[in-house]
């Protein structure tokens, strides 16, 4: 479609990647972009780096302000979408205006979920971190904060704990479960990360929830599990995000965790696409459709959607759970599924974070399905690529049943990972609950 009207809902990485891809694919018709904010596209993953002083505030807007003019985009900023009628191909904005589309992309991203804890919702000292507005508000409050409670041990919670501790704030990090990073980390790797951030002064309390919160003068009193009361002057909520899909009619468009799409990013409705955090994609490890949003995959999905909307034969093949991030002076990565279900599942852990790196690999029926890496993330890209192709398969791992300890050398051989002095690697295999061995090794020669 070269001349139709494209309407893009949202103003993030997926939305702008789609607009650019449509233009590069030869689309000459109108492109309308609808956003509830009146700002250029903001990258939510960058605000922690802004707080750390790694980039100026302007750096959190990676596409800049000129991209709308360069790609000839009609901006309709400041009004949210309130309704989408996929049958009549029409959207309704917050001010009552309607807009008819030829093709539409849902790229509205996700918003933080605030759990229903008494006193938490709407509290002046409780903050989430996602949008530019929330980052600015939080920065204002952080200047004077001395005591903080951070809810949620996901990546956002851990990153915020790091930023606050570095600013001299006393931080209590609360996690409902029994480990950090429950979505991607194996308990052994999570335990190492926990010891590390505790060493930097973060007070990690697992199996502990915020039960209620009440204002008390300049502070808030946080009632934690077990009757513990902690005063704080800032409460950060990092308990997860949910796609922004209030305007989508579930009868017209198939929605599970997010909008279900095919490999061309098409939804169940005609001429309606979805990309980024608003959509869910094929998980190449499990074969299921999962909600696995990252900035990078959002940009890829947006690009595929934009190309397909413009009539090109574009495909987004799917992705896998993945994350990489610096924590204090360490770098941590998780790739794929470290706790696969079914079959013969083993875990191999080796190395030491302080001595060249720690790696934990999950092996299901001889095929590596996931990895946690600490301080050896130079292996991450090659491991990811091998895990995606399911090519990290070594029958030696299961040949003699339990009598054979899977060899890290074998795995690295299979992966052709080099830069590693294999003879000095020590390895150990054990059930998932075992703590990792701390063996002195040197990885880089």
């Amino acid at each position: 479609m070269r001349n139709g009207r494209f309407v893009i809902l949202g103003n993030g990485g997926a939305a702008l990647s789609a607009a650019r891809a449509a233009r590069l694919s030869g689309h000459r018709g109108e492109i309308h972009l609808i956003s509830d904010t009146a700002e250029p596209a903001f990258n939510p993953m960058l605000s922690p780096y802004y707080f750390k002083g790694r980039i100026p505030w302007d750096g959190c807007y990676p596409f800049g302000a000129d991209v709308y003019r360069d790609d000839d985009i009609v901006c309709r900023f400041g009004e949210p979408v309130v309704a989408l009628d996929a049958r009549r191909r029409q959207i309704t904005l917050g001010d009552g205006q309607t807009l008819v589309y030829d093709r539409c992309l849902i790229a509205t991203g996700a918003a933080p979920v605030v759990p229903p804890i008494p006193g938490l919702r709407g509290a002046a000292r409780a903050f989430t971190l996602r949008t530019a507005a929330s980052a600015r508000k939080l920065e204002e409050q952080m200047r004077t904060a001395r005591k903080a409670v951070v809810l949620g041990v996901s990546l956002v919670g851990m990153k915020m704990a790091e930023i606050l501790v570095k600013r001299g704030v006393r931080v209590i990090l609360l996690g409902r479960g029994d480990q950090l990073l429950p979505r991607g980390a194996h308990p052994s790797a999570a335990a190492i990360l926990r010891r590390y951030i505790e060493g930097h002064g973060v007070d990690v309390r697992l199996g502990c929830t915020l039960e209620a919160m009440e204002e008390a003068g300049d502070e808030v009193m946080c009632h934690l599990s077990g009757g513990v009361i902690e005063p704080a002057d800032i409460v950060l909520v990092g308990t997860g995000v949910r796609p922004n899909l209030d305007f989508v009619d579930r009868e017209q468009v198939k929605v599970e965790q997010a909008v279900v799409t095919d490999e061309c990013m098409r939804t169940s409705a005609d001429d309606l696409y979805a990309a980024g955090d608003a959509s869910q994609a094929l998980n190449l490890i499990t074969g299921r459709h999962d909600w696995l949003g990252t900035w990078g995959s959002g940009c890829y999905q947006g690009r595929a959607a934009g190309q397909h909307m413009a009539g090109r034969n574009a495909v987004y093949p799917g992705t896998l759970p993945q994350h990489i991030s610096p924590f204090f002076d360490w770098t941590y990565a998780h790739i794929g599924d470290v706790q696969p279900r079914g079959g013969d599942v083993r875990h191999v852990a080796f190395g030491d974070p302080e001595e060249g790196g720690y790696a934990l690999l999950a092996v299901q029926d001889g095929v590596i399905t996931g990895a946690n890496l600490i301080n050896c993330t130079h292996l991450a890209g090659r491991l990811r690529s091998a895990i995606l192709r399911r090519s990290l398969c070594d029958t030696r791992l299961i040949r003699d049943g339990d009598s054979v300890v899977p060899s890290a050398d074998d795995i690295l051989d299979g992966c052709r990972l080099q830069g590693v002095r294999r003879s000095t690697l020590r390895r150990r295999c054990g059930p998932p609950t075992q703590e990792s061995p701390h063996v002195r090794t040197r990885w880089r020669t």
């Binding site: 980039i55 610096p326 890209g381 090659r382």
Partner: protein
């Protein structure tokens, strides 16, 4: 834009790692290099095979690092198509490290990414990249992709012709 690339003749590479040293020297690196030499072994005596592979950034046609970079610090050079990083924009988030299937991004002491830039400083002065210049077996080469493909095709044709000639007239006949 002409897309430049490296080529490696694996039948010539002896795994001497001179390219790594040249890369470190050119880019003032001490513990890391933008090039990696790997050994591939297969089989067992008397049917053992091995090969060496010297790899740097592949300057991919559709480079994943460019797409995933959250600050758009990674871009494609206009003159030679090299994938380049603007270190002023890099925040050290390691996203590119996870996206690159070749392990090309390296992180220096300041926490920011650095990688092979096809030695654009040398190329601007009419020189070949340091690794290519040093390669004692002439296994490494660098140039426009079309030229490299043509060279490879020519070398392969010569080998096929030689094999044909030998099969028709065995040596010593």
């Amino acid at each position: 834009m002409t897309q430049y690339a490296f080529s490696l003749d694996v039948t010539r590479c002896s795994g001497c790692s001179a390219c790594i040293v040249a890369c470190q020297d050119q880019n003032d690196l001490e513990t890391i290099a933008f090039r990696l030499v790997t050994k591939h072994e297969a089989g067992a005596y008397p049917e053992a095979h091995f090969a060496y592979l010297s790899m740097a950034c592949q300057h991919c046609g559709d480079a994943p690092c460019i797409v995933v970079c959250p600050t758009r610090a990674i871009s494609r050079g206009e003159s030679d198509g090299a994938v380049l990083v603007d270190r002023n924009l890099c925040i050290g988030c390691h996203s590119c490290e996870l996206a690159c299937p070749f392990g090309a991004p390296q992180f220096l002491d300041d926490g920011k990414m650095a990688k092979c830039d096809l030695c654009h400083v040398r190329q601007d002065h009419g020189l070949t990249p340091a690794c290519v210049r040093i390669c004692p077996t002439r296994a490494l080469d660098c140039g426009p992709v079309e030229e490299l493909s043509a060279k490879k095709a020519k070398a392969a044709s010569v080998r096929i012709l030689e094999a044909l000639v030998h099969s028709i007239r065995p040596e010593g006949a």
